[in-house]
């Protein structure tokens, strides 16, 4: 615990623990989604993590042609 806080900081470690708690909650109760795919174990967790990475990756790749100088429109 102490190692984690030193390594990742208090907030990051707290988020990590919350993630674990919400995974455990699914094992205790029965979660079902709006669609059948969501019924797969830990699906929202997986979807949330992957979505965030995909958004980041696409966003970064768009930088090369969408990002221009700050005075681009003033030239």
């Amino acid at each position: 615990m102490k190692y984690l806080i030193e390594k990742f900081g208090k907030i990051n470690t707290s988020v990590l623990f919350l993630c674990i708690i919400f995974l455990v909650l699914e094992l205790i109760g029965h979660r079902h989604g709006e669609t059948s795919i969501e019924d797969i174990l830990f699906f929202p967790a997986f979807f949330g993590y992957v979505s965030c990475i995909v958004i980041f990756k696409i966003g970064v790749s768009l930088r090369s042609f969408l990002m221009k100088d700050e005075d681009y429109y003033d030239k």
Binding site: F8, N12, V15, L16, L18, C19, F22, L23, L25, E26, G29, H30, R31, H32, G33, E34, T35, I37, E38, F42, P44, A45, F46, F47, G48, Y49, V50, S51, C52, I53, V54, I55, F56, I58, G59, V60, L62, R63, F65, L66, M67, K68, D69, E70, D71, Y72, Y73, D74
Partner: protein, 565 residues
């Protein structure tokens, strides 16, 4: 008397007196105006007032179950705007905000398209002053583009209204068929104001250029008025599901790379409008309730986020992520309120975003629209990324920027605390919130599946961001301009049009030279063949002139002869 006066109109008329009042009295006066306007909401549903002008019936005050929630939130937002802008001593923005809020409130009570058109344009003409209030070269140019586009949307609305009137004999503001020409014109008008894909450039162009007070007001009314209009006129129009899904999806990527945090919020606004548009496209009672609930909640949490960034802009003078950071210790209350706004927009349980968004997601699930459902779920993770984390993190935490400042003015803090409280109250007591929605439905957002599923989605998305940041994969924010659809009319069209105009100009000059040359040649030819000692030389010409003169005298003589003799 009051029953025939549409809500909002009193605010517009009352705004004319604002410049003549001293500061403190002005603030109290504006509050009174809003409360008097809100009194009209207690009159119940139905048509309360109409006037006949040139055989056209203007229904200026009509209310129903859809009008009420929008009218309530518009009044609340108007009060929050007055409190938030109380530090501003000059009257110009207060007049603009009061008349802008009044025009939007009057617009939702319009019962026909001509009345709607008047208020539609009034929102444009009053709100543009909030962009001009920044008094920068960029804001002047942006305001010019903004007013052109807003008035343009009004022209589509007017054309649709006239066509509807000529075809059906009535311009009643009701449900329209998208397959008719008037329906399409009205659809485009609403679509421009709702910032549809490729029509959205004005939103990201203008809102971040407005003053810190102006952006809060702008984020409330214009786009939500469009949402109201869609809910009233195009509920159940399937194409809205596709358009809305695209709207939720693509602004996320722009928001991720945008550096100006107020501009990030405008992309986020666009994304949230997408949720509402999808719900209107579904058109079921649950979905329409979802759209209205989302608009209601969104006005509060998006206003709160803009207030937070406005406070930062007011104190620090910039909202660029690359220049901010570490402001939490100087502006803790602003930071906490912004975090509440961020948690609300991310739809964490016990906050307003959750109880509103759940309605839309459930409506999608019930209709079996699986693909769109997952697009919106993906967008939900994106919202957390750009609004839930990026906004508070880069402004108040991230790296130490070295900026030393102080907490926001008291009036700003009060407005932010009220908005934060409302975000929490709506989240904690959803049943009271659901009672003001258009349809009475039984819906329980807080069940085990909803709560655990949403918490897993959001915490793991947050954890992904933490991983990217901690392992230094997340790139630094850079001072930049991110290209958006406004590039089409700011760069592409001038880029194509100007060379084209130059080309036409050059061709014109060449043709001019050619004609001149040909004329000279012809003149020379005739001079050589006909004048020099030939047919039209001087002597022959003089003789001809004498003959012509004699002939005219002869004609006059004949003329006089015929008349008098």
């Amino acid at each position: 008397m009051i029953s025939s006066f549409p809500p909002g109109l009193i605010m517009m008329i009352g705004a004319l007196l604002i410049p003549f009042l001293p500061h403190i009295i002005r603030q109290i006066y504006m509050m009174v105006l809003i409360l008097v306007s809100a009194y009209a909401l207690t009159l119940g549903f139905g048509t309360h007032s109409k006037i006949d002008v040139m055989d056209i019936e203007f229904i200026i005050f009509q209310s129903d179950s859809l009008t009420l929630p929008f009218a309530i939130i518009f009044h609340i937002a108007a009060i929050l705007n007055v409190i938030y802008g109380a530090h501003e001593k000059h009257w110009n923005q207060h007049v603009a905000i009061m008349s802008y809020s009044g025009a939007a409130i009057a617009a939702v009570h319009a019962g026909d398209l001509f009345t709607l058109f008047i208020w539609w344009e009034a929102t444009a003409f009053t709100s543009v002053f909030l962009i001009l209030a920044s008094k920068t070269e960029r804001s002047y140019k942006s305001a010019f583009r903004y007013i052109l586009i807003q008035v343009g949307s009004g022209m589509f609305l007017l054309a649709g209204a006239i066509l509807l009137m000529s075809e059906t004999g009535s311009a009643e503001f009701r449900n329209f068929d998208i397959n008719s020409l008037y329906g399409q014109l009205i659809f485009i008008a609403f679509g421009i104001k709702a910032a549809f894909p490729l029509l959205n450039g004005w939103l990201q162009d203008s809102y971040p250029e407005a003053s810190e007070i102006g952006t809060v007001a702008l984020s409330t009314f214009t786009t939500k008025l469009a949402i109201f209009c869609f809910a009233k006129s195009f509920a159940g129009t399937e194409i809205l599901i596709i358009i809305g899904a695209i709207m939720t999806f693509y602004p996320i990527f722009f928001a991720v790379i945008e550096n100006d945090l107020r501009r990030v919020l405008t992309y986020s606004l666009n994304n949230q409008l997408g949720f509402m548009i999808v719900a209107i496209g579904i058109g079921t009672e649950l979905a329409i309730n979802g759209a209205v609930a989302h608009a209601f909640a969104h006005i509060l949490y998006k206003g709160l986020l803009f207030m937070g960034m406005g406070a930062v802009l007011y104190r620090v003078g910039t909202c660029k992520a690359s220049e901010l950071g570490g402001l939490f210790k100087f502006m803790p209350i602003t930071a906490i309120c912004t975090i509440i706004g961020a948690i609300s927009i991310s739809a964490f349980p016990l906050f307003s975003g959750f109880v509103a968004k759940s309605l839309i997601m459930s409506a999608l699930g019930k209709e079996g629209l699986v693909f769109v459902y997952f697009m919106l779920l993906f967008a939900s993770a994106g919202v957390l990324h750009h609004s839930g984390i990026k906004i508070p993190f880069f402004a108040f935490f991230a790296h130490e920027s070295g900026i030393k400042t102080k907490e926001a003015p008291l009036n700003m803090i009060i407005a932010m605390i009220i908005a934060s409280t409302l975000c929490i109250l709506i989240g904690v007591f959803p049943s009271y919130f659901y009672e003001i929605l258009p349809y009475q439905i039984q819906y329980q957002p807080y069940d085990f599946s909803h709560v655990v599923g949403q918490l897993q989605l959001l915490t793991f998305a947050a954890f992904a961001f933490i991983c990217l940041w901690h392992f230094k994969i997340y790139p630094p924010e850079l001072n930049s301009t991110v290209l958006n659809s406004d590039w089409i009319y700011r760069k592409m069209i001038p880029g194509v049009l100007l060379p084209l105009l130059n080309l036409i100009n050059n061709i014109n000059k060449k043709i001019e030279q050619l004609i001149g040359f040909m004329f000279m040649y012809v003149r020379k030819f005739f001079a050589n063949t006909m004048i020099k000692n030939k047919v039209f030389d001087r002597e022959v010409g003089q003789d001809t002139l004498i003959v012509v003169q004699l002939f005219i005298i002869y004609l006059i003589f004949i003329f006089v002869w015929k008349i008098y003799l």
